[in-house]
């Protein structure tokens, strides 16, 4: 015991400062990403009774036009598929997803779109996505849900129709 003080080597002290700084920068960039670019994980929002889904929006899953380029997309997951079985939206649509599971835990992952949920029975996963590109992607279940897990996926089709034009039609009642 040389002296009553923790010995920290000079280089080790520098390493500690650098490590802390790097981790600090990483965390700051995360917060910036959340605030500036709105990249957020799902927040805990609403719950439903999985035995009484008939009394909720999940009684009639599907795409709903809410005016403008706004869409509500209600999806119910169950072993082993989603209802509805495909999603079609016009390019430019800003869609709010409301997704839950009827039976066991499923996943909800849109290829190349950073939409990524666990679907827990009793909880509604919600997020808002703007679709700027025409094309077809897959919505996949990415949480193991039994024998048919691998067949649980459906297409998401972004069509080349003007979301705003559809919206104008909707307002004049001529859609």
């Amino acid at each position: 015991m040389s002296e009553n003080k923790i010995h920290i080597d000079e280089y080790e002290a520098r390493w500690i400062v650098i490590s802390s700084a790097v981790l600090g920068v990483f965390f700051a960039s995360l917060l910036l990403g959340a605030v500036l670019f709105n990249v957020n994980p799902p927040d805990s929002t609403s719950t439903v009774n999985p035995l009484k889904l008939d009394e909720t929006i999940f009684a009639n899953p599907g795409v709903r036009h809410m005016g403008g380029n706004q869409y509500d997309v209600v999806i119910l997951a169950k072993m082993w598929g989603y209802t509805p079985t495909e999603i079609r939206l016009p390019v430019g649509a800003e869609a709010t997803f409301h997704v839950t599971s009827l039976d066991i835990i499923h996943g909800f992952y849109i290829e190349k779109h950073n939409v990524n949920f666990e679907l827990i029975p009793g909880h509604v996963a919600e997020t808002r996505v703007t679709f700027d590109e025409v094309g077809e992607w897959r919505i996949l279940c990415h949480q193991y849900c039994g024998r048919g897990h691998q067949i649980m996926h459906m297409p998401l089709i972004i069509e080349d129709t003007d979301a705003e034009a559809v919206a104008l039609d909707a307002e004049t009642g001529q859609e």
Binding site: M1, S2, E3, N4, K5, H7, I8, D9, Y11, E12, I16, S19, S20, L23, F26, F27, L30, L31, G33, A34, V39, N40, P41, P42, D43, S44, T47, V48, N49, P50, L51, M79, D103, I104, I105, G107, Y109, E111, K112, N114, V115, N116, F117, E118, I120, P121, G122, H123, R138, L140, H142, Q143, Y144, C145, G146, R147, H149, Q150, I151, H153
Partner: protein
């Protein structure tokens, strides 16, 4: 104290200590450690073989070749149902192999570094048999196809009750083992007032403190939710609450595997390289930080859960960065120690110490390779822990790539390094064909590096984990197909590597004839540097651990308990059949 065969040849200073012989194991040590390792490597044999065949099964190219050649798709061996094989792979490798190995090695390290026998041999065997009976119950449920729930067993999917009962027995067994180790330490403490406990034992103690705290979460989940439900005593459950309880346990679980590897890097590797550790105190600080910060960060496994608030996700993300810090301390400390070894072997400039090392020695090379893989494990781990980057990566094969560089990389290779010196001591025969052992280390290293890289790229391209991609109807994009084909190549390398490992094990057990001359690389004394007393103040640790976890987990727990709509999810035993 009753001891099997004590030798009193080297009394250190004035302490009446019974020193253990360096090159030979006492008969009770051979039985104790040997029994644990035997079960561990028996379980690993079945678990490990499932891995490569899963990569073959997921490769579209290999599936076409297989259809052409034998007229049917490739399946996993013996257990042809993919999810059953996947459950075996996860439970046997990650839960059973690790737990038995850690318990056996912990007993060995504590007895050797404290130079006193365990408090109770009876408790040791009670712990061992509880764990073994637990393993048999769990394995029976999986093997008979009644527990295809993977190693995370999230409800409402349900397994046979024997699966959960077995897991409870394994965990209770580890608690008894931990109690035994702690009593042994307290006995040493009484006999050595004012001394600092050897670093190796310090690490084991920190590991058990963390493990006991963490396993309370899964114990509550299994005993109050899963077991009653699988026995038909209750009909409904709350799956979000179950996930919260599971991941209270799940993240410290990975540190439970990692700390023994760190103990090897900090206390055994310096002996094997013939140099002193760079800083004993900083190693203790790293262990203490891991014990504290590995638990209040588990929400980073729940970033994609709709029942956990974003605030909790941000807090846990921040603390996850804090737990990366002791690993960065370890990186410096161990690298500085390795540099000393290089200098001792004639290195003179900035980088030549990296190759002036005993790279041909399987015991050392395995640890070096493990460390190298862990660099990727650490970086990818920090990426996963970033709550918004996780949006792109969660539950893709990226995550599988990540934990194969940590668990199947750093942890596995370091355990194998330990096996390569402890098995000759137990068997009292030299390691059979050390070159094969070295070949195993390098094939495993390159195979795992490739596997992790390809799985990571596959995940970025959108490949989902835990999916039987070889079954009809599974989704593939061309990009995913390409990366999955590449992982099959790494699977072939890893298959060869596994055979090499078991050839060395069986060779050493049955074919090796030369007498072993290995010394146990256990540090018995503490170096001459100042180590603050608070590092061994376990009351202080308990207080900090309880406080941080109440602050970090209680809001998550309350948030996930939904008294109106919670607890209404029906159980689905059929889903897992």
């Amino acid at each position: 104290m009753a001891i099997a065969k004590p030798t009193t040849e080297q009394p250190v200073e004035n302490r009446p200590i019974l020193s253990y012989p360096a090159a030979e194991l006492l008969s009770h040590e051979r039985f104790q450690v040997g029994a644990h390792l035997l079960v561990a490597f028996f379980a690993l044999a079945l678990g490990i073989i499932m891995g490569p065949f899963q990569t073959f099964r997921r490769s579209p190219w290999l599936q076409t070749v297989s259809e052409d050649l034998i007229g049917q798709p490739i399946t996993t061996p013996i257990f042809t149902y993919y999810y059953q094989a996947l459950t075996l792979h996860g439970v046997l490798n990650a839960l059973v192999f690790t737990t038995f190995f850690i318990m056996g090695i912990s007993y060995f390290v504590v007895q050797r570094s404290l130079q006193r026998p365990l408090k109770s041999t009876v408790l040791l065997w009670i712990s061992f048999w509880l764990m073994t009976v637990g393993l048999v119950l769990t394995a029976w449920a999986i093997v008979t196809g009644q527990a295809n729930v993977l190693f995370t067993f999230y409800p409402p999917m349900l397994a046979h009750w024997a699966f959960y009962a077995g897991l409870v027995l394994v965990i209770v067994g580890t608690w008894i083992g931990a109690y035994n180790v702690f009593r042994t330490y307290l006995g040493w403490r009484d006999d050595n007032p004012g001394e600092r406990v050897p670093l190796a034992t310090y690490g084991i103690l920190a590991n058990f403190v963390m493990w006991f705290t963490a396993s309370l979460g899964v114990a509550v989940e299994v005993l109050t939710m899963l077991l009653p439900m699988s026995l038909g005593m209750v009909d409904t459950t709350d799956p979000q609450l179950a996930r919260v309880l599971f991941w209270f346990f799940g993240h410290p679980l990975v540190y439970f595997w990692l700390i023994p590897a760190y103990i090897s890097w900090y206390t055994m590797l310096p002996k094997q390289l013939g140099v002193p550790l760079f800083s004993d105190t900083m190693a203790r600080i790293a262990f203490a930080m891991i014990a504290i910060f590995s638990i209040p960060i588990g929400v980073h496994h729940l970033f994609a859960d709709p029942g956990v608030s974003e605030t909790a996700k941000i807090y846990h993300s921040a603390l996850t960065y804090v737990v990366a810090f002791p690993s960065l301390l370890t990186a410096f400390n161990v690298a500085a120690t390795i540099e000393r070894s290089g200098r001792k072997r004639g290195a003179t400039n900035l980088i030549d110490w990296t190759w002036k090392q005993p790279w041909g020695n399987p015991v050392v090379a395995a640890q070096f390779c493990g460390m190298f893989l862990f660099i990727f494990g650490g970086i990818s781990g920090i990426m996963n822990a970033s709550f918004n980057m996780n949006q792109a990566l969660h539950n893709t094969t990226w995550v599988v790539g990540h934990f194969h560089t940590t668990l199947a990389g750093a942890v596995f290779l370091t355990y194998i390094s330990i096996l390569f010196w402890i098995m000759p001591m137990i068997r009292q025969r030299k390691l059979w064909r050390p070159r094969w052992a070295t070949a195993h280390v390098y094939t495993w290293f390159f195979g795992m590096l490739m596997f992790a890289g390809f799985m990571g790229r596959g995940g970025m391209a959108g490949a989902t984990r835990r999916t039987d991609m070889g079954a009809p109807g599974a989704y593939f994009s061309p990009e995913i197909a390409m990366w999955m084909n590449w992982t099959a190549l790494s699977g072939m390398i890893l298959l060869v590597s596994s055979f090499l490992l078991y050839a060395v094990i069986f060779g050493t057990l049955f074919a090796s004839e030369e007498k072993a001359t290995v010394n146990a690389p256990i540090q018995k004394d503490t170096p001459n540097e100042f180590i603050p007393a608070f590092l061994e103040n376990w009351r202080l640790w308990a207080f900090i651990i309880i406080t941080t976890n109440v602050v970090m987990w209680l809001p998550v727990l309350i948030n996930s308990i939904d008294l109106v709509n919670g607890f209404w999810s029906l159980g689905y035993p059929g889903a897992a059949r």
